[in-house]
């Protein structure tokens, strides 16, 4: 455990918190039910996002992360380490940087746990307030992604469980394929309004349903 002073940036009791989409959440539905929609949009707000940095070549670092989070540290671009039942995932962002996403309210405990087991050269940063997750599901999601990003989202190049950071709608986003017809976009707070509207607009032709 390091002697850094850390604190819970989002204490549960009484503090008001708003999703980046709080002001723009319009419930658009061009179709009557999610079953008829080509794209169902859902925001997973308030999840815990942590940026973890360290040396991938350090055995102790890798073992510590696995011990603290229960999923192995991915060592190359692409495959997401994910435990869907517990809602924990680790994504490779760059050779010495990872994005850890944990369920809402778990971020402080997770950060503490990482600080307990890790030692030496590493950093953990809580970035939960800076980004949010949009889940897109439905048969037409791939068409919407093809309109929005230059990255190849064909199943041949983008199998289930892959996660990449790329250009999205002239901005940037992290694109994660979590199931056959279910994708996640991790988007920045400052672009959230724009990207959310972009996704709605791009999905309109396929029938879009915003699930709350």
């Amino acid at each position: 455990m390091s002697d850094l002073s850390i604190f819970d940036v989002n204490p549960a009791a009484g503090a008001k918190s708003e999703s980046p989409l709080a002001m723009t959440r319009v419930t658009v539905a061009t179709v009557a039910s999610p079953a008829k929609a080509g794209v169902v949009v859902r925001e997973h707000a308030f999840q815990g996002h942590l940026i973890l940095r360290g040396r991938a070549t350090d055995d102790q670092f890798r073992a510590g992360v696995e011990q603290a989070l229960g999923v192995p540290l991915p060592l190359k671009m692409g495959p997401l380490s994910r435990d869907e039942a517990r809602g924990v995932s680790i994504q490779w962002m760059s050779p010495d940087e990872w994005l850890v996403i944990v369920p809402a309210g778990r971020e402080f405990a997770t950060e503490n746990r990482l600080r307990e087991v890790l030692s030496g050269h590493y950093a953990v940063m809580n970035v939960s307030g800076g980004q949010t997750v949009l889940e897109l599901s439905g048969p037409a999601v791939r068409d919407v992604l093809m309109k929005s990003t230059p990255y190849d989202v064909h199943p041949r190049n983008f199998p289930v469980g892959k996660a990449v950071s790329s250009v999205f709608a002239k901005s940037s986003a992290i694109i994660r394929r979590v199931a056959e017809d279910r994708w996640e976009l991790v988007i920045r707070r400052s672009f959230a309004d724009y990207l959310y509207r972009w996704v709605l607009d791009a999905s309109e032709e396929f029938g879009v349903y915003v699930a709350s």
Binding site: K76, M77, G78, M93, S94, P95, E97, P150, Y151, V164, S165, S166, V167, S172
Partner: protein, 107 residues
């Protein structure tokens, strides 16, 4: 559009994800205080502008956000290789000359 191989992501990505960052392998003078104004000016402001092979830096802005190096032919715009920061290029003018000379001997 160029397809650029990022040596860190180990994948070809669209040019749109990258930013060019100018000439690579520029060494900062070891002793700035002892460097002449002319040499310091060269280091700061003067860049090569070759016709042909050029070793340059690129930045994977939308991906892993790492700097890496590329060897590009400024005539054809072809990127001949990309390699991590800190590594040396394998495609160089000298290597090409040696290869051409080797071929000449074989004939």
């Amino acid at each position: 559009m160029l397809h650029i191989y990022c040596p860190y992501c180990e994948e070809y990505r669209e040019e749109e994800e990258f930013r060019p960052k100018g000439e690579a392998h520029i060494a900062r003078p070891a002793e700035p205080e002892a460097t002449s104004d002319e040499a310091w000016g060269d280091y700061l402001f003067f860049r090569k502008n070759p016709r042909g092979l050029h070793h340059e830096q690129w930045y994977h802005a939308a991906g892993c956000r790492k700097f890496f190096n590329a060897t590009r032919d400024t005539v054809s715009y072809q990127i001949l290789e990309t390699y991590k920061a800190g590594q040396q290029p394998t495609v160089t003018a000298a290597a090409r000359a040696a290869q051409a000379a080797g071929k000449g001997v074989a004939k």
